[in-house]
């Protein structure tokens, strides 16, 4: 396995941030930056530390900076406390028998820093070299400039050897939850690092490699890829869209120039691995025979971050809701997800609000422009295709701002009756025509109908297919005899909105279903704006509570 440059950059940044937290008292800018911090949650220390930090920040009053300065002084500088009732953040204190400064550990780290030509940074003259802030900063520097073996031995010999004992003291003497939370995060992060570095050291993990490919050199690479893979990306279908416009949807590509990268696709990537219509089995006389895939090749799907994040949502439904679905599972196994970088935000995108602007779980990432394609390869199975190209330093970037934003209401389960009864939903009754276009365009809509097809009237043979369906279609809840569970377009809209921003998360945890691609807004022939519907609900509920 390979890990990406973006992840390496993220690691170094987190070391620097932690270093800053221990270096001196927090100021408002630091607290603000913590508000939007996103942390890995791979172990309990990280999870609980992050939760405690969030909780503290959410309830922090105007004098938080002052409160934290007092806490910092008491815990880390032993101000105003009797001997020993503090957590002095220097390695020597924790590793020397008499708990005093500038012992063996201090000498060792001084030598290590000097060996790299590093002195103490400006403004840090008052800190010992084995101060936690400097050790963390040094490891951050090693992440970007040093060998894995150096990182590993420094982590083990000079941080993890004393941090647990230090953390126990912070837990004991800390006056606010803030430094306790920060220290748990540091501990959890270093544990995570230990695992990562072990993997890197043993060769199980390696650093992703990036290449620049001139557009005219791409054809032979694609030809070689296509021997083993079918390659799908957003493609233009002239005059096939609404009102005779071009339609951009995912399709198999023959050339780099097929890829439409300057516009948002009208339909999502899901049709590549969850087809609009799919034969489940064929009947011949008295037997049902499972349909096998026509093309055994694996699939490379070059998709936007929102679409990649949407795959996880579809996985939840098809693989984890009850027993797994065979047709989906076997498509999914053959699927290789490549990231198609978004260089700009498009109309109606609000991926940042949904946290789906960033996708890191890709096997390769691609940036395309008129001259060349930049490719970061994380799955080494794809390295042979690119090794002859020009190596460069490239990691994909992600959109960090959209022109529109979602205000996701914080709904409690007990509010459902009240929300269901709102007159708010009636505004859609006259406007929505139940065409289901929004469901079709959505990367996370997964519903289907099963239909039986006969090849001709007298034929004994036929097949059962499943075809996309959608909750906005008038008949979606119709039962025999004609009764409808949800009777109006407004009721359907309520169902859809709540599914996308409330009950999917309630059921599966972690994340909302909607990834904020805005395609449903783009698509609606009646100009019904789903994002306005979400924000309107949010405002209505906020108004009611306030």
């Amino acid at each position: 396995m390979m890990i990406s440059k973006a992840e390496f950059r993220g690691r170094a940044e987190l070391y620097r941030l932690l270093s800053r937290l221990y270096e001196r008292e927090a100021d408002q800018a630091l607290l603000d930056s913590l508000q939007s911090l996103s942390l890995p949650e791979d172990n309990d220390d990280l999870k609980q530390g992050a939760a405690a930090l969030r909780e503290y920040l959410a309830s922090a009053g105007p004098d938080a900076v002052e409160e934290l300065a007092v806490d910092y002084a008491a815990v880390f500088l032993a101000a105003g406390s009797a001997e020993g009732a503090a957590a002095l953040p220097c390695e020597s204190v924790y590793t020397s028998p008499r708990r005093i400064f500038m012992q063996e550990a201090w000498e060792q780290v001084c030598r290590l820093y000097a060996g790299k030509g590093l002195g103490k940074a400006e403004g840090r003259a008052d800190l010992m070299e084995d101060h936690l802030a400097l050790e963390l900063a040094f490891l951050g520097w090693l992440v970007e400039n040093g060998a894995v073996s150096e990182q590993k031995s420094f982590l083990e010999d000079h941080l993890l050897n004393w941090l647990p004992a230090f953390a126990a003291d912070v837990e004991k003497y800390g006056r606010t939850p803030f430094y306790k939370a920060v220290t748990r995060i540091a501990l959890g992060f270093l544990e995570l690092e230990r695992g990562l570095l072990e993997g890197l050291d043993s060769g199980e993990l390696s650093m992703a490699r990036s290449f620049s490919v001139r557009n005219d050199r791409f054809a032979p690479i694609l030809a070689r890829l296509r021997e083993k893979y079918r390659v799908f990306a957003p493609k233009r279908f002239p005059k096939r869209g609404l009102k005779g416009a071009d339609l951009i949807r995912y399709g198999e590509i023959d050339a780099l120039t097929d890829i439409v990268y300057k516009e948002k696709s009208h339909l999502s990537a899901k049709e590549v691995f969850y087809p609009v219509s799919q034969t489940l089995f064929r009947f011949t006389g008295e037997e049902c025979t499972q349909e096998e895939p026509a093309d055994e090749r694996e699939i490379i799907l070059l998709a936007r971050p929102c679409d990649l994040n949407a795959v996880r949502r579809l996985d939840a439904i098809f693989l984890r809701n009850g027993q797994p679905d065979l047709y989906y599972a076997r498509m999914r196994e053959r699927l290789h997800l490549f990231l198609l970088e978004c260089r700009e935000t498009f109309d109606n995108c609000f991926c940042v609000s949904m946290g789906s602007n960033i996708a890191l779980d890709y096997e390769a990432a691609v940036r395309i422009d008129d001259i060349c394609a930049l490719i970061e390869v994380k799955n080494e199975a794809f390295l042979p295709y690119f090794e002859d190209e020009v190596p460069i330093d490239f990691a994909p970037e992600f959109v960090s701002e959209n022109r529109r934003a979602a205000r996701i209401p914080d709904i409690r389960r007990e509010q459902l009756a009240e929300i269901t009864a709102l007159d708010y939903w009636k505004q859609f009754d006259d406007r929505c025509i139940g065409c289901g276009g929004c469901n079709t365009a959505c990367p996370t809509c997964s519903c289907f109908d099963t239909v039986d097809v006969i090849y001709h009237e007298t034929s004994r043979d036929g097949e059962r297919r499943r075809v996309w369906s959608g909750c906005m279609l008038e008949d979606f809840t119709r039962t025999a005899g004609g009764a409808l569970a949800r009777k109006t377009p407004g009721a359907n809209m309520r169902f859809k909105v709540l599914h996308k921003i409330f009950d999917f998360k309630l059921r599966f945890g972690e994340e909302h279903m909607c990834v904020g691609c805005g395609r449903c807004v783009d698509r609606c022939p009646k100009e019904i704006d789903y994002l306005d519907a979400v924000n309107g609900l949010s405002d209505l509920l906020a108004g009611k509570e306030g």
Binding site: F281, F318, N321, S446, R466, A485, D503
Partner: protein
């Protein structure tokens, strides 16, 4: 990996005509089913639909089907010896362990008697496991009455109130099931459960009537009928907010069912 969408053929052993529009099909089947579960039945080239198990015995199960649309019509065209395609059983079941040693009230309407019939037969065959059983079963008119023989049989051990919506016939009361709920001696029960199955409107009013008469919501059990395409948590048709009726239902305790708003 098991293919959860693939049905297998089962032979129809016999067909009993209950009413003009409702037949009971006995189908060869080996395997366990729990009270209240259903199968996806299908005829190739016609379609597929969820149907409850209405009876079971050595080597067979039974379905009582109402002819109402495409597939059900198709099934009515089959003969003994023909194949019915099935996958299942699906859904949860009535919590029979919680019914043991307690009084049981069953209120059902029309085809709604099908999913509770194996439950009734269980307590008929094992009276030592339960206490009293009260059954109110409502039908539109005398031509719509299902399971005539078994209702007769149940009279032997249960308190049975068969009723016709707005006509009279010997052996039947008149009026909706709700008007007879007053005849159930709830105050004489130590502990009991109430099972209500039928058309949505009937279930709602019967449950409200019970609650009005002091039955705690936690003692009431209902079985939902929703549009279903897959029965395995994928197609989305049966979903009510975060609940998938095919997975978590169709049987729900009323304290939860009343919050399943749509």
């Amino acid at each position: 990996m098991e293919n959860i969408m693939l049905p297998s053929p089962h032979k129809i052993l016999s067909i009993v005509k209950e009413t003009r529009a409702e037949y009971t099909f006995r189908v060869a089947y080996e395997g366990e089913t729990k009270h209240g579960q259903f199968f996806q039945l299908s005829i190739p080239k016609v379609g597929e639909a969820p149907i409850s198990v209405s009876g079971k015995g050595e080597g067979y199960i039974e379905f009582t089907i109402r002819k109402i649309g495409r597939l059900t019509q198709g099934i009515f065209g089959l003969q003994p010896g023909d194949m019915l395609f099935m996958r299942g059983p699906y859904g949860n079941a009535f919590p029979i362990e919680r019914f043991k040693g307690k009084d049981l009230v069953v209120i059902c309407g029309g085809t709604g008697m099908a999913p509770v019939k194996t439950l009734l037969n269980h307590f008929y065959d094992h009276p030592e496991e339960g206490r009293s059983v009260h059954l109110i079963c409502g039908f539109k008119d005398i031509d719509c009455v299902l399971f005539t023989e078994e209702i007769e049989k149940f009279r032997g051990k249960f308190h049975v109130i068969p009723t016709l919506d707005n006509s009279s016939a010997p052996g039947f009361e008149t009026g909706m099931v709700t008007v007879h709920i007053g005849n159930i001696p709830f105050d004489q029960f130590e502990d009991y459960n109430v099972v209500i199955v039928g058309p949505p409107v009937m279930m709602r009013f019967a449950a409200l009537e019970c609650v009005k008469r002091g039955v705690p919501e936690e003692k009431i059990w209902v079985s939902f009928e929703r549009r279903m395409s897959c029965a395995v948590g994928k197609c989305g048709h049966c979903k009510i907010n975060e609940t998938y009726v095919c997975l978590e239902g169709p049987v729900f305790n009323y304290s939860r069912a009343k919050d399943l708003l749509d």
